[in-house]
């Protein structure tokens, strides 16, 4: 939204050309300047600049919705608002399960079962909606190489023996879980940024990252001065990209 070109904000052609001579081509550049700078650059009066500012703002501002509309949208298909974890007490505490459209973080000391939980959630996501799943593919970003496909099949076979009664169904399920092994922060970030098209093409309904902390701790030593800023930079960029994906496609992450 911010990188929207000024041309598409319906400013006049000559104004756009004039601004591009000062290297102002996107809405972001325009809105970052102060009033005086804008007057100098556009050559227009104070009141006209105010009008221009409002016009450009309208091009990038988000749409308004009332809380009531949001509630109606959620209540239209209640099953799609959460992914049930099939652990009843956990579902009760979470008000239905892992929420779609936002980030959920799972933390624990090592060995408690985080990766097992992630594998189970992947199986659940591939189940059809009638059985409480999301009937979609799963993107699993593995940074610790802890994902075991055999364990996946074991869980699926023992948990839902009636559904996964044939090998074919098992293969179908495993085909829809896409595993990416990333070992550095940079590659994790690149992978997250490139996910948008994959989500649409593969009909992904769940993104799992296991785990964020391991790559970050490997690469950034917090005792060194500059690394703290870089680390938080990486984390916030990754977080905002994931939030965007979660909200845009209404899937749990």
């Amino acid at each position: 939204m911010a990188a929207k070109k000024l041309r598409r904000a319906r400013l006049s052609q000559e104004l756009c050309e004039r601004l591009s001579r000062h290297q102002i081509t996107t809405c972001q550049d325009f809105l970052c300047l102060s009033f005086l700078e804008l007057m100098k650059v556009t050559g227009q009066s104070y009141y006209d600049v105010q009008k221009l500012l409002r016009q450009v703002s309208r091009a990038c501002a988000p749409k308004m919705q009332t809380a009531y509309e949001m509630k109606l949208r959620n209540s239209v298909n209640p099953s799609s608002a959460f992914l049930s974890t099939t652990l009843h007490s956990l579902d009760k505490v979470l008000h239905g399960g892992v929420p779609c459209g936002s980030l959920t973080e799972l933390t624990s000391p090592p060995g408690c079962g985080k990766t097992q939980f992630c594998i189970m959630m992947s199986v659940l996501a591939t189940l059809p909606v009638s059985m409480g799943g999301l009937d979609g593919a799963v993107i699993y970003i593995d940074t610790e190489s802890a994902f075991s496909a055999e364990r996946l099949i074991e869980i699926a076979g023992n948990r839902f023996p009636t559904y996964f009664d044939s090998d074919e169904k098992l293969f179908c399920m495993t085909r829809s879980i896409h595993l990416y092994r990333e070992l550095t922060c940079g590659s994790v970030l690149n992978r997250i940024m490139s996910l948008e098209e994959e989500i649409i093409s593969k009909k992904v309904k769940l993104i799992i990252i296991d785990s964020v902390a391991s790559v970050v701790r490997k690469e950034f030593d917090t005792k060194l001065q500059g690394n703290l800023a870089e680390r938080s930079n990486f984390l916030t960029r990754g977080a905002s990209a994931l939030k965007y994906l979660a909200e845009e496609f209404s899937i749990p992450v």
Binding site: S34, Y47, A61, P62, Q65, K71, T236, E247
Partner: protein, 366 residues
């Protein structure tokens, strides 16, 4: 009348031409007239007319200012301000201890900043306030609408539904206890649907969308004149990452703060911002301080800091022009933001929600 041409709000190129043609004061311009102006400078007659209109507008403003007319300026006596402040409403938070240390609740026309570590309850309080601002006047509220600008995506509609249901139930209890006409009439319009439809939600993904939205807010508020609360949940989040140029960040934040102050004053609305915490590494220890730096600290009038103390949540009033510094404990229940119940009362766990602690406070207000 003796105003210099260089100080008029005209386009820079036009100003340069006027000065080059020898016009020094606004008086000179007005004497020449549009046709003469257009001939001398070489602009069209319509443009010359526009220039003169701008000049006249400015000069009228100046004259009114020098004559001391009080409606052209914002000048008024302290007595008038006192009367205004006393008549002003507060937005209650349903936590009486917090309302007490704030002097009645969140004040209108002021910017209140809430800082705290993640998970301590900032967004909960914002959602509570967005519901509380809509309480009708006969129950002690300001009967306004709310604008919620979300940058972090932590607004959960289901949670607002819970909070709003509890609020409506609370008001219904009061109405049953008092049985007054206007209470019952107000209750008819104060329902879950109406509460939710008067919360206007904007989701801003980055700082440019936030800036754009704040520029458009005055127009929005003029259309929806009943808005009494603007919440920006997460003002720090879009500014903390991907910002290499710190001076640009400071400038944008200051501009944002000024815009919000203007909005708060013009529309008699309360502005609530939530901020994150960052670690300041000192010589021997590190402390948690509000993010966005020292210069941002001047933007908010009232600053609340939420923190933990061994699993008890505490709220500290850190900066306020009229109240003294104090710390109180608070609780987040399934009904929203509430007081901590004193140990003696928690023995009967079933009716802690309908606790008489809340009702007497209401009755005192009548």
């Amino acid at each position: 009348m003796q105003r210099e041409v260089g100080s008029l709000p005209l386009a820079p190129a036009l100003r340069a031409r006027l000065v080059a043609a020898g016009f020094q004061t606004a008086q000179d311009l007005l004497e020449t007239g549009p046709c003469g102006l257009s001939k001398e400078i070489g602009i069209s007659k319509e443009e010359a007319l526009e220039v003169l209109q701008v000049v006249r507008q400015e000069c009228h403003g100046d004259a009114a200012r020098t004559a001391g007319a009080s409606d052209a300026t914002r000048k008024c006596t302290a007595l008038e301000l006192l009367e205004e402040e006393q008549a002003q409403g507060f937005i209650i938070t349903f936590c009486s201890a917090l309302d007490n240390i704030l002097g009645g609740g969140v004040q209108l026309t002021k910017i209140t900043e809430i800082c705290g570590a993640p998970g301590v309850g900032k967004t909960q309080l914002c959602m509570q306030l967005a519901v509380d601002v809509q309480i009708p006047e006969c129950f002690g509220g300001v009967a306004g609408e709310a604008v919620f600008i979300d940058t972090e995506g932590s607004f959960m509609v289901d949670r607002v539904v819970d909070i709003a249901t509890a609020c409506v139930q609370h008001c219904q209890l009061i109405a049953e206890a008092h049985q007054e006409e206007d209470h019952l009439k107000a209750l008819e319009t104060f329902s879950l649907e109406s509460i939710l439809s008067h919360i206007y939600y904007f989701r801003c993904r980055d700082y440019i969308e936030l800036l754009a939205q704040v520029y458009l807010l005055p127009d929005f508020l003029s259309e929806h004149s009943k808005v009494r609360l603007v919440v920006v949940d997460g003002i720090a989040f879009p500014f903390r990452h991907d910002f290499e140029d710190l001076s640009l960040r400071t400038r944008l934040l200051n501009g944002l703060a000024q815009q919000l102050i203007i909005i708060a004053n013009d529309h008699k609305a309360a502005v609530v911002l939530t901020n994150q915490m960052t670690t300041r590494i000192g010589q021997s220890q590190s402390t948690l301080v509000p993010a966005l730096g020292e210069s941002w600290g001047h933007a908010a009038t009232v600053r609340l800091i939420f923190h933990w103390d061994n699993s008890q949540r505490l709220a500290t009033l850190y900066k306020s022009p009229s109240q003294k510094e104090a710390t109180i404990p608070y609780h987040i229940t399934s009904h929203g933001f509430r007081d901590v119940q004193p140990p003696a009362v928690t023995q009967n766990a079933e009716d802690t929600e309908m606790n008489p602690r809340k009702r007497p406070r209401r009755e005192e207000e009548k």
